[in-house]
Every structure is written in structure tokens, then in C-alpha cells.
Symmetry: C2
Subunit: 192 residues, 2 copies
DNA sequence: ATTTTGTGATTGAACGTTCATTCAGTCATT
DNA sequence: AATGACTGAATGAACGTTCAATCACAAAAT
């Protein structure tokens, strides 16, 4: 009962790494199996087919992001502090888990992310919406649509993490400039 | 000499449409050829292989974006006006050319977008950098790294266009909120 | 305590399909 | 007659998926 979940997690982790590195096309099931230390057929005891595997990874990834950010959110703090903590934690999480960041970016824009998937409940999406909704209710941020707010903030964090990775070697003094962007966004959405 | 370029453009356009709809994997060369009204083999007179085709599309797309935005830029106007015009034109272009928007989004995060491609000169990227550099030189915006500025602005426009498409039917009053975001960014980068 | 039986995961070779790519032959233009 | 684009059937490699056989292990029977 225990090793079964471990094996499933191994498969997901192996696929995550490969997809981040090579993309969906260049990540054959046979390689995913090899890297996970199982036979190709074994994957089909856990997932109906390759598409189900990819969607399973997405669900896992969404769960992990939500867990990391929500565990570190303290609703009793002032909303401004919570916003900066949210921003920092999401950034940290992506930097600690580059394969998740890479996968998520690819998945979101891919045809795997169908209307059906998008309309399913999504713990991370829901958490982010409620987070911004609570800021609106407290009168701390403008009454924008929380869905729009969450997409805006999340995609900016996403972009910044990607920029940091690309320029890691070339320009080190950018770090400060990039952290400025969180202030820029906060100033834009806060109620004066 | 004329119909040759037309045929190449047909192939690129056909691939663009298919990739936006189905992604790289589900866009076989045979289908691209069929939609372009040529035989499969013909594609190989214009492109060495499928990867070269995809990179060729990227180069075409980058050229088109640059053309649209730069043609509508008037350097003699105040920089604030130029900024809003840039924002609007990029948004308009993506909305007028959804297949380019979809392709660009997918390509940027894909393994096709190698370090080699990223380090090659890129007319659109260069234009955007020079655009923000001129704002800095005029003392109208903060002296942030122009590369960072252009990625920030472009990825926000990208996100907003995607949000608009997703919510086109569900929420029509979002339009106003989304247009607010350009002011938010401008307020963040302008020099007071 | 030992053997037998049953259950369900695991394996990896084999299968059928799909796809990128080739190329001998055809067509169009000069 | 010559050149070069164009065709599309043919090729072979790669891939997702299947399945008969094997294995691991626990419950039941002796």
C-alpha cells in the first residue's frame, strides 16, 4: 500500500523532469519508465494513457503549489504583508522546483489544457482567488475581479522566475530590479 | 519568383494555424502540406526539416509583430503616449492574429526555443529594447534594464490577451478592468 | 510448519500506427 | 532540350499501447 504510492510518485517525478527538459513530444513513455525504474507497461496500471499521465502530473503540481503557498499564509496578518509573502513564497517554490515551473508553463499553453480541465475545480486556482477576494473584502485592494487578479499576479511571478533563470549568469544585479516589480504591482492594486 | 514566396507563406500560415489549434505534436507535416495545398515533399524544398519549419515560423512571427508595432510608433510624440500606443498595438495585433499569439506562447516555453535561438538577433526583441531605452534616455521612465522592461510589458500584454479570450463569453465587463493594467504598469515604471 | 492456491502488480517483447523524410518519376517553364 | 520545382507512394524509425508470462506475497489448506 505504501510502495504503490511511492511508485506512482516516481513515475510522475520522472515524467516531470523529462518534460521540463525535452517537452511533451520528446518524452516517450519508454524513457519515463526507464527513469522511474519501472517497465513501460507498469505506467498503464497507474494511468490510462499518456494524456492521463500528463493531466495527472498537472493535478499533482497544482496541489504542491497550493500546499506550499497556503501553508505559509497567515490570514491574521495585515493583507499587505500577506501579499508580499504570497509573492515571495510562489517565487521561492518555483525556484526550488524548476521542473514544476517548466512543466506548468508548458502545460498551461498546451492543447492538453482543454476547456474541460480548465473548468474542473482547481485547488490552487481556488486558493488564489479566495486570497485576493479576502483582500478586497478587507478593503485593502481594489475591487477587481479576483480571477483576473490571480492570473495577473501569478503570470508575473512566472515571468520573473523565468527571467531570473535566463539571466542568472549574465546579469546578477537584476535581482533588485526584479524584486521591484512586486512593489509595482502592489502599488497598482492597493487601495490608497 | 513570386509564387515561390507565396507558397512558402502558405506553408507557414498552414502550420501556424495547425500548431495553434493542436500543438506541435499533433501537427504532422502531412497535414500542414494538405492545408497549404501542396504535397508533403514540397515542404522540404523550403525547409530542411520540421524543426527548421517551426523555427522559420518563429522568425516570420517575430518579423510580423515588429512590423505592426514599429510602423505605428511615432518617436516624435511624448513617451507616455508612445507607451500606451505600443501597448494597444501589441494587444490589437495579437487579437487580430490569434494563431500568431497561440504559436508564440507555445514556442517561447518550448524546447525549440533553444539557447542558440535566444542568442540570435531578433528584430522584435531589439525594437522593444530600443523603445524602452529611449524612454529611459528621455528621463520618462525609471532606469531599469530595458530587457527586463520589455519582457515584463510583453508578457503582461500576452497574459491579458489570453485572459480576454478565455473570458470572452463569461464576463464582458472585464474589458475595463484589464485595460486598467496598462495604467498600473505605466504608473510603476514612470518617473514622477 | 509446509505446501498450495489465489490475487494482483510487474515485466518487456511484440504489435500496429503514425510520422518525418526520401526519391524516382512527372510536370511547368524557359 | 534542360532545369528545377513538385508529387505522393514508399521507407524506416519511433512511439503508445497491449498482453501473455512471471513474480511477490499473503491467505488457505494440509
Amino acid at each position: 500500500m505504501h510502495s504503490l504510492l511511492d511508485k506512482k510518485k516516481c513515475i510522475v517525478q520522472s515524467a516531470l523532469d523529462l518534460i521540463q527538459e525535452n517537452g511533451f513530444h520528446a518524452s516517450p513513455v519508454s524513457l519515463v519508465a526507464k527513469n522511474a525504474g519501472v517497465a513501460a507497461g507498469t505506467i498503464y496500471t497507474y494511468f490510462e494513457n499518456k494524456e492521463a499521465l500528463i493531466i495527472g502530473i498537472y493535478e499533482y503540481v497544482v496541489e504542491e503549489i497550493k500546499k506550499y503557498v497556503s501553508e505559509r499564509d497567515d490570514p491574521s496578518l495585515p493583507f499587505k504583508d500577506r501579499f508580499y509573502t504570497y509573492w515571495k513564497n510562489l517565487t521561492d517554490f518555483y525556484e526550488l522546483n524548476p521542473s514544476i515551473h517548466g512543466f506548468y508553463d508548458q502545460f498551461i499553453k498546451s492543447p492538453f489544457n482543454s476547456d474541460e480541465i480548465q473548468s474542473k475545480p482547481n485547488v490552487w486556482h481556488d486558493f488564489a482567488c479566495e486570497f485576493f477576494e479576502s483582500g478586497i473584502k478587507q478593503g485593502k485592494i481594489k475591487a477587481l475581479n479576483p480571477i483576473v487578479l490571480s492570473i495577473l499576479v501569478n503570470s508575473n511571478v512566472n515571468s520573473i522566475v523565468r527571467i531570473k533563470q535566463n539571466f542568472k549568469k549574465k546579469l546578477s544585479q537584476n535581482k533588485m530590479e526584479l524584486d521591484e516589480i512586486s512593489h509595482l504591482i502592489w502599488d497598482g492594486i492597493k487601495v490608497d
